[in-house]
Structure formats: structure tokens, C-alpha cells
Subunit: 361 residues, 2 copies
């Protein structure tokens, strides 16, 4: 992979820089408004070059990764697209609002990303090459996305040890509101409510057991970032909060009615649901299978295929594009975990009118 | 300590039996409706005797501990009080409803308890002697409680490595609704909501990162027990849920208004609150101090003193009663962590009209 520019050298950007260096990327340039972060990044060998501007970092780059806090992403993505002609991606946890901000002329080159991982401490000094190891990394290609750029981004994500999952941006935001943003709000609200409660002088916060501490672990992390995330994903977060309150009203009714059986069922179903949390994605094992799909030479075809598989929880371990003649049909080669995954993928692709073949690899 | 009867030989009862045996209690009798639990308890050396009834287990006992699920506690406590003349306590996580169920004639002998600990797996086979090590163990003595029985219970809790904290039963239930029961409901509700959400086929439950898994760890544990807990602590749980929904409405308003500053402050204050979670109780260190308090020979005096200190987060490492003449004044000796704790305790006791002296131990 050619030079990569990392815009924003904190925990995420720094860790990605390290992981890319470990994966053999020779030139990793950093840009950051904070000169000490850049100096630290150079000193620690996290980046190979410190650039004074995105334009400087973008020179000859094969990808620009915007690793800035959510509130700054749209502006920096726009700037990066304007000064480059390569792939631009980001690492933010709200995607639709970033895509909406990309000008029509640049839509083919921006593909949003969101690695689902993080650390307790921020800053380039806390960065580590293995941060993405085994993590899900959502990618949100659109019908405008250029196939070869998606291929490049997929390869980059695999190179740093993560598991790329293509997903529709709206679907992504809806899901993250539920499994990440709402839980953060609830954790903070629990702490607030406990902090405001000390009947007879006994403080609720100092009367809690270890499980309360686990449940509220995320509360209070990075206030400016989280305020921005809630606003960037406003509609989906509000919808999740409304559904949450409706759900609680049903629980309250059962308690008021003394409906023991309903409450048991409520808890029992939660236990069943937790089992799904542990259900593994289909990941590459001993005998991977390969699919070869005919794809037309137009933007969006690979996005459509990758997203269909991502939504169906079929992991694409590897993805390679063999272009056909201009305007003709090329081939997309996908590697999936096993025969079952290949068969499921075949069915999905045929439903969508693609012709595909599969075979043991 | 004389023989102890454990009613209900599951994880909690079994662990307490083991811990008491390790602490030198020679006779620990178990009672359980499930004969295999009793046989297992005997086989593993958890208990020394299996009793066929509470009456049989209670013979010559110095304490009966009801270690049954919350829904059964009131009935078993009543039975234990009826067939004994010793201390009766329990381990349930809702206290006021149990106390309310105790007949007037027996109120002096029942002192509720709630060790704040547990394990993932239930059953006597999962029991372990160190389960209570370092755990908070709430005790809810009342104005009826006999001083020597509170002294005995305090000593028993200390003997198994836990930290007794006297607390008013209503205060306890109010606090637990907030730091334990509401969080359980929220975790279960999060799982339910995620389980019901799979836009475009992509399952929310399989799109969550490790923090969602942490946040919902308690969801789905022991459905019958948790249904009973929510009903046993009905009023406090409903109040906590109402406040929770009100709190969320304020967050929703800030998101709708785009009020970034409010949201930042909300998260920032949660971070401050989390710091309080970690604030240690004042526990015994190198130079403990001793308080000697004059106490009248009437039920409730020790309860009042212990509860006042518990509410003020002053840990009583040791507690001994030196009775005076019948109807006269005895002495209560309290050991606390250090000079500061002793001085704080002195001030509280004087406010309540007690005469006390303090000195380095």
C-alpha cells in the first residue's frame, strides 16, 4: 500500500498508524493541530512524517484517514477530498451525517468507516498496534463508491487485523444508537441519579456493588466527543430513547400489576437475547470457500454486494477485484468462511441478479 | 459461635456455610427442600449436618440464616422465628417488606441482612468460602432489635470477611432500587430492544462491541429471583424508574435543542460521579481508634448508633457490648479506622444525646 495520511493523531489515529506500519506500509504521515501530538508521534515512531497540512500529507497518498473527533469529521473529510484524488475514509461512530456532507463531485472517493473498539485512555502516547485486532470495522460504501477504492479499504482493514463489515449507513447509525449511544446515555443517567440520592446521609454512589460499577463503566468518558456523537446521530438516538421509555413503561405496568409471570418472561427473554450477543460471525476457518461474481463496471456494484453480505452476517475474509474492459463486466472474488457461508452468499447474489460461482479454495 | 442453621443451600447459603466453617464454627446445619442440594452440601463438607426441617436445624442454634430466594424469605423467616429463640437473619436484597412481615412478638430477634456480592453460577456446588471477602454487607436493625443479637450478627459478618454496614431498611431499599434493581431492568430492556431490531437483516445484537456486552452482563440472570426482587421492592423500584424516565426526558430535550453545552456538562458530571463510586469507605488501617459509648439497656440503642454511623459512611471494624445492670447503662465499644472517623462518630453520637469517649487503640 502507498503512503497513508492520518488526520488526527490521538488514540485511534495513532493506533492505526502503528498497525499500518507493522503491516508494511512504508510511509505514514500524520497531521494534527496539536504540534506536541505530532512530535510525540514522530518520536515514538508511530508516524514516519509530520505534515503541516492535509494537503501536504495527501501528496501521492493512497488513502487519507480522518481520525478526528466526531464533531470535526465532516469538515476534515471535505478538506481531504478537496486536496486529494485518493480514497478518503473516517473512523467516526455516526455515518449518515458525514456522507450527507460530502459534495456530489467527491462521493465516489469517500467511504465511511467505524472500527468498534477503543481504549480507556486517549492520546497518541496510549496508541497501540493491536487495538484493531479482531474488532468489527463497519464500512459504509454507497451506490457512488468506486469499486477499486472499496477493495483498497477492505484490504487496509484486514491488514490491521480487523474484520470489515459493509453496512448501509442509516442501518449502521440506527444500530449504533441502540447498542452504543443509548447505553452511554443510560450509564450517565444512572450515575446522575445515584449522585443525587443520599437518603439519611447514606450516598447511593458509595452503596453500590461491583455490578453497578461494570454497568456504568462507560459513563463520563470524553464529554465533548460524546456530546457530539449524540448530536451527530440525533434522529436515531432519539428514536432509540423513545423506544426505551416505551419498554420501561411496560415493565412499570407489570410491577404495578404484580404480574410475576410477565416479569419472569421479560428477564428470561433477555437471557436468550444475551446468547445472540455471543453468536460468532462466520469467520474464516480451515477450509474457506471462494465466490466469483460477475460485476458490471459501474460504481456501487461492489458496495451492493458487500453490504448485502454484511447485513446477512456473512464475513468477507478477503475481497479482490479483477476489472473487465471499460464498460464491460469484471470479476469480484470473495473469500468466505466455509461452504455454508458460500451457499448463503450465492443465494443472496442470485436474488439480486448477479451471476456467481463458488468452489472450495 | 454456637451452631448456625442455614435455610436454603444454594450459592449464597453454601458459601456462607463454608466461610463460617473456615471461621471456626463447629456445627453448621443445612435445610433445603431439595435433598440433592443437602446431600451435595454434606458430601462437599459445606455443612456438618443436614436437617429435615427448620425446627430440627434450629435446636440449640445461635443464629438461623435464611438464604432463600427473595420470594420465599418472608415465609421462612416467620417459620424460623416461630420454632426458635435465637437470632434470625436473611440475605435478601429487599428489606422493608421482610421486616413488615415479622410478627410483633418476634421483632427483637429478626435483623435483616444483605451481602452485596454474588456469582455467575448458582447452586451449592458453586459455593466458595471467599465469596463475602471484602463485600459490603448491609444490616437493617430496627428500634426493636436486641443489642446482643446485633453484636452477634456483626461479629458473624466480620468473621466471614465482609464489612457490616448498618442502614435503615427503607433507605436500603431506596438505594438498592437505584444501584441494583433499576440497572438490572435497564440491562434487560437494552437486550430486548436490541433483540427486536434488525434493519435490513443486520442484527443489532450481533453488531455490538465489547462495551455493550459489559453493560448488559447482568441481564437475564435468574428470572424467577429477579421478578420477585422487583415485586418485593415495588415502590422504590417504581420511583427509581420514574426518576430515570424524567432524567432521560431532559437528555432528549437537549438533543432536540442541539444543546451541546448541556450534553457536555451531563457527561462531565457523570465522570465526577464515577469518582465517588471509587471513594473507599473508611476501613481499619494501621492505627484504629476506639469509642466507648454509654448505652441504655433497651432494644434499639445499638441499632440507632450503628445505623447513624452506617449512614455517615463510618465503618465499624469491631463492635462489642458490655452490658450494665438490668435497666441501667452498659457500654458499647466501637473500633473505627482512624482518628478522623472516631471524631466524626463522636460528633454524631453527641448530636443524638449519647455520651462517648474516644482514644487510640
Amino acid at each position: 500500500m502507498g503512503p497513508v495520511a492520518i488526520v488526527g493523531l490521538g488514540l485511534m489515529g495513532g493506533s492505526l498508524a502503528r498497525a499500518l506500519r507493522d503491516a508494511g506500509v512504508e510511509v505514514v504521515r500524520g497531521v494534527d493541530p496539536d504540534p506536541t501530538a505530532l512530535a510525540e508521534g514522530l518520536r515514538l515512531g508511530v508516524i514516519t512524517h509530520a505534515a503541516a497540512s492535509i494537503a501536504e500529507a495527501a501528496e501521492g497518498a493512497s488513502a487519507i484517514v480522518v481520525a478526528a473527533p466526531v464533531g470535526l469529521i465532516s469538515g476534515l473529510v471535505g478538506e481531504a477530498l478537496g486536496v486529494s484524488d485518493c480514497l478518503v475514509t473516517d473512523l467516526g461512530s455516526a455515518k449518515a451525517s458525514v456522507i450527507a456532507g460530502v459534495g456530489a463531485a467527491h462521493r465516489g472517493r469517500f467511504i465511511g468507516g467505524h472500527p468498534v473498539c477503543g481504549g480507556e485512555r486517549s492520546g497518541v502516547a496510549s496508541s497501540r498496534a493491536d487495538l484493531f485486532q479482531g474488532a468489527m470495522w463497519f464500512l459504509t460504501p454507497t451506490s457512488d463508491s468506486r469499486g477499486p477504492l472499496y477493495e483498497r479499504l477492505h484490504a487496509m482493514v484486514v491488514a490491521v487485523g480487523a474484520r470489515p463489515v459493509a453496512i448501509d449507513a442509516e442501518v449502521h447509525d440506527h444500530l449504533m444508537a441502540l447498542v452504543s449511544h443509548l447505553p452511554h446515555v443510560l450509564a450517565a443517567q444512572l450515575i446522575h441519579q445515584a449522585a443525587a440520592t443520599s437518603p439519611g446521609g447514606r450516598e447511593a454512589l458509595r452503596s453500590a456493588g461491583p455490578s453497578f460499577s461494570d454497568l456504568t463503566r462507560v459513563a463520563g468518558a470524553n464529554p465533548p466527543l460524546w456530546a457530539d456523537i449524540l448530536l451527530a446521530n440525533r434522529d436515531a438516538v432519539l428514536m432509540a430513547m423513545t423506544r426505551h421509555r416505551e419498554g420501561l413503561e411496560r415493565v412499570e405496568k407489570a410491577i404495578v400489576d404484580g404480574d410475576r409471570e410477565w416479569l419472569r418472561q421479560f428477564v428470561r427473554e433477555a437471557a436468550d437475547g444475551r446468547e445472540r450477543l455471543r453468536a460468532p460471525e462466520l469467520v474464516a476457518v480451515s477450509t474457506p470457500w471462494e465466490l466469483t461474481v460477475g460485476v458490471p463496471d459501474r460504481p456501487g456494484a461492489i458496495s451492493e454486494i458487500a453490504t448485502a453480505l454484511g447485513h446477512a452476517h456473512i464475513n468477507i475474509a478477503d475481497l479482490a477485484l479483477r476489472p473487465g474492459p471499460p464498460g464491460g463486466t469484471g470479476e469480484l472474488v470473495l473469500v468466505v468462511a466455509d461452504h455454508a457461508a458460500a451457499a448463503a452468499a450465492m443465494a443472496l447474489l442470485e436474488q439480486r441478479g448477479y451471476r456467481a460461482e463458488m468452489g472450495e479454495r
